[in-house]
Structure formats: structure tokens, C-alpha cells
């Protein structure tokens, strides 16, 4: 009960900050939009390769970029913990009875809001560029949910990392090291059937790939709901594990000061 109430207070705190700097969302959209435009053009004709499962590359790429931008949003969200650390805000909260989990949940819920806005903009741009989906509105909503379910565990993981490293450079290094491989070792840009075997194996274990594949499935004409549910469930489990880890990381931080 207390955890829910405190999470709500912390979510409001982060949403207020976000509302005061909406350019943050625009800035974070820069990279996904460039990818959508650039790769959408560059790889336009890969769909002609035998074995590619669809005929429109922009329709293939759009859900991929929605998920990729959620992955990046989550990955970078630990930076806000570093800011709170540097400004003494975190130390102030840690000597109050605030629920430790709420300090993470508040960030994750703000991240969810950011993810929804980003996903809507990227998806809209995809439609403008000619992408069409048989899955309709329901498919799009499920794609956004999957994006949130991917941003959340990476947001929590990034926060945990920030609490343990406590330095901006370390977080930047670790995040850069993780995010690009996770994006490219997945079906964001390329159909599974055209991947080298080893990448296909890695992609099977890649949470970003679970979200992309489930999202595409949801947008297809006859979605395989079990396929989507399993991946959504895995992402939810991952969120819980990472959220727990991040909450524990406060102890590691407090043991270091």
C-alpha cells in the first residue's frame, strides 16, 4: 500500500520534471527517426531476397524501431539516478521513510509514459512512410505494451548499474556496450530466416528480439496469441527480476558511503 502511494508520488515527481523539459523526448527521438528514414531507404529492397517473410520493408522496420527506441530509452534511464546522486536528492530521500522500491518504480512509470509518446510518434511516421498493418489498432496497442515491457527491465537494470557504478562515465560505457549489440543481434533490421545461424541463436535469447517478434506478430493478420503471451510473460518476469535487483542496489550504494 505504502509502496503504491510512494510510487505514485515519485512518478509525479518525474513526470513534472519531464513536462518542464519536453525537448528531452524530441532529442531522444532523433536517433530512432534517423534509423527509420535511413535504413528504411538503404535496405528497402532486402524484402526481395528469397525467404524474407514480408513484402514491405518499412512495415517490417517500423515495429522494430519502436522497440529499439524503447530499449534505448530504458538503457539510458539510469542517468537520471546519477543526476539525483550528484544533486544530493537521493541521499535526502534515503534518510526518509520513503519506500525504496518506489524510487525505482517512479522512474519506470515515467519511462512508460515516455515510451508511449515515442512509440506513437515513430509508429505514425512509419504510417506516413507507407507502412500498413493488418493487425490494426489492437496490434499497435500491443506493440506499445511490449515496448513498455522492454523499456522497464532495461530501465531498472540501468538504474541498478548507476547505483553500483555511481559515475556517469561507467554508465555511458556499459550502456553503449550493451545497446547496439542488442539492437543488431535481433530481428529489428533483418528477417530471422536471412540471419547467420549464430546470430539467430543469440537473438533467441535477446529480450529486445522477444519484443520485436511479438510486436510484429500482433500487427499481423492472424496473430499467434500464445507466441505473443509467452514473450510478454518473459518480459514481465524480467521486469520483476530487474526491479528487485535495482531496489537491492540501494543497499550496495549505502554500503559504499
Amino acid at each position: 500500500m505504502l509502496a503504491i502511494q510512494h510510487s505514485w508520488y515519485m512518478t509525479m515527481r518525474h513526470l513534472r520534471a519531464l513536462a518542464r523539459q519536453p525537448w528531452y523526448i524530441a532529442f531522444s527521438l532523433l536517433q530512432p527517426i534517423i534509423y527509420l528514414l535511413l535504413f528504411g531507404q538503404l535496405f528497402k529492397r532486402v524484402v526481395e531476397l528469397p525467404g524474407f517473410s514480408t513484402t514491405s520493408y518499412i512495415a517490417f522496420l517500423t515495429p522494430g524501431i519502436v522497440i529499439m527506441s524503447a530499449l534505448f530509452g530504458g538503457g539510458w534511464s539510469g542517468m537520471s539516478i546519477i543526476v539525483d546522486l550528484d544533486r544530493g536528492v537521493l541521499d535526502r530521500f534515503l534518510v526518509t521513510p520513503v519506500n525504496r522500491g518506489a524510487l525505482i518504480t517512479g522512474r519506470i512509470l515515467q519511462l512508460a509514459v515516455v515510451t508511449i509518446v515515442q512509440a506513437a510518434i515513430i509508429f505514425g511516421l512509419g504510417l506516413i512512410l507507407g507502412a500498413r498493418f493488418s493487425g490494426g489498432v489492437l496490434g499497435a496497442v500491443i506493440l506499445v505494451l511490449l515496448a513498455i515491457l522492454l523499456a522497464a527491465p532495461f530501465g531498472a537494470l540501468s538504474s541498478a548499474m548507476a547505483l553500483m557504478a555511481r559515475k556517469e562515465e561507467s554508465v555511458i560505457g556499459a550502456v553503449n556496450f550493451l545497446l547496439l549489440p542488442l539492437s543488431f543481434l535481433s530481428t529489428v533490421f533483418m528477417d530471422q530466416s536471412l540471419m547467420p545461424g549464430w546470430i539467430r541463436t543469440v537473438a533467441r535469447l535477446n529480450p529486445a528480439n522477444w519484443a520485436v517478434q511479438a510486436g510484429r506478430e500482433a500487427l499481423s493478420a492472424n496473430p499467434d496469441w500464445a507466441f505473443i503471451l509467452v514473450r510478454g510473460g518473459l518480459l514481465l518476469a524480467l521486469t520483476i527480476v530487474c526491479g528487485w535487483l535495482a531496489t537491492r542496489a540501494f543497499r550496495s550504494y549505502q554500503a559504499s558511503i
Binding site: 515527481r13 520534471a17 535526502r92 530521500f93 521513510p97 549505502q254
Partner: protein, 329 residues
Amino acid sequence: MKGGTIGASTTAIEAKNLVKTYPGNVKALDGLSFSVPAGTIFGLLGPNGAGKSTTVKILTTLSRPDSGEASVAGFNVLRSPDRVRRMIGVVAQKSGVDWELTGRENLTLQGQVYGMSGATLKNRVTELLAQFGLADAADRVTSTYSGGMKRRLDIAMGLVHRPRVLFLDEPTTGLDPEVRAALWTEIERLAREEGLTILLTTHYLEEADALCERVAIVDRGRVVVEGAPEELKAQLRGDAIQVELAAPEMNGRVHDALNRLELLREVTVDGRHLRARADSGARAVPAVLAALEEAGVQVAAVTVARPSLDDVYFRYAGRAFAEADKEAK
């Protein structure tokens, strides 16, 4: 609810043999102990790096000691950190203001975290904003606040839930003299009118002297002496008398003239500067002037200084406060 009772008297804060080592074998606390009676302003005075902030972090449950025990408002900081957190207000050395919220939002969130809500919280926030001179800036984002305004907001945040014990870690460091004086008045008022126990750390000797009923002088992670400032100064051997001579004195005339006076001790002459100690400076000065006149020595100026906490620090830490403070930086 009263503070914890230890023995017959009421003790708000008790630290026993705190030891804390940081990586790199930095011994921040080396068996630090003190106790603070409820309802008083207590000062932890020490140069930079003495271990004041480390002590505050442990007492406020942010950090844990390697060994030792501590209790605040009757609760053990290691065994019942949650109980302690409900009783204390904390103003850390480093500001904890959220730059992206307004002053009012900062205070409101702080109150919410302690379970306050509704009209009670709203009124308390408005009251504190007025009390700390932030009413006009209340709805501005705090990134536009000056250092002094942020500091006042920090203190208001530490008070929003009406704590029993308030920790102020170097509350006036880096503030203008006028702002500092205003803050001193406010801190005194809090202790007097609201019955708060205040633990204040400072590396300004005059601040400890002006504000604190009792002080513990901290040096290299230990309390070297504890007591009321007046009591500590009275234990030193008398006032310092300094005489500036009109001309440098070379031939020992002055020294001989003054050494005959029984009132004086530790007479030293260095060029134009003459120093001595006496139990009562006020009684010794006429005798000193008379003796110098008799010896035909011209005097330019005379000062009598009561022993200061500076002298107390020197006596117990074995080095000058200013030197220790610089050394740490």
C-alpha cells in the same frame, strides 16, 4: 513522545565508539563517542576531513559504521533505522534540493514521503515557505534559486514533518555573512520555541561558540574534548594579552620589567610584539602598562583576548585549527 532515556537524564543522541574506514585505508572515524542531551543545540566542531559528515551519515541511517553503536531519539540506528528515520530531519552538507521542482513541490513531496497529506500538509508547506523567506519564490523552479535560497529550502525540507531531532551538516558553509547571521537566529529559535534537539556540525569556531550549548571537538575521527564552550575556554590558563610596542625592543628591558609581575605567565617578546597570559586580563593590563612606563617603553596598542575555541582546539588536538583545516584541502 520523548527522546530515549538513558540513565536518569534524557539523551537524544548517543554515539559509542564509532569506527568507519573507507577504501584506501582512510580511517574517517576512529572510535568516536559523544552524547547529546535532548532539547539542546549540540555542535560537532572540527576541521575539514575530521569525520563530521561521516558521523552525521551514520546517525541518520544513510551509512553504517564498521563497528560501534548509536541511538537517536531512543532508537538504535542499526537495528531500527525505520524508526529513527521517522524521528529525524536531515540537512546534509550538500544540498538535496530537486532542481526540476518548485520550492513548494519540493516541500510537498518531502511531506508526502512522511505520510502527510491534505490541508495539514498544504498549510505546513505554506507556513515553512513564509518562515524561511521563500514565499515569493515558492512557485519558481529551484534551478533559479540562489545558494542561500536552496540552503533555506533544504532546512525547511528537514523540518516539514516536525522531527524531534534535527541534523544540520555545515548549514552555513559558503553563505554570505548576513545570510549566515539570519540562519543562526532561525536555528536558535527552533531550539528554543520548538524544543528540537539540534546536532550541528561546523568548521567555523565562532559558529560553534555563538550557537551551541555544548560542543564536541572532533579531530582525525575522534572526539578530543567535549563540553560547554564557556567551560572549555575557562579550563585554559587565562586570557591572552598582546602589546604592540612603538619601537622594536632589543635589550631585554621589557622582558625583565614584565617578568617581575606575578600576574603574568608565558611572557614572550618578538620585535614589537609582546605576548603574555594572565588569569584575568582586565586586572593585568594596568599593571603591564605601569611596568612598561616605568621602564620607559612606549606602547602603541594593547589587546586582551578571552581564550577562544581556537585555543581549546590547539590545546587538545595539538595543532592549530586553521592549519588542520588547510591540510585537509
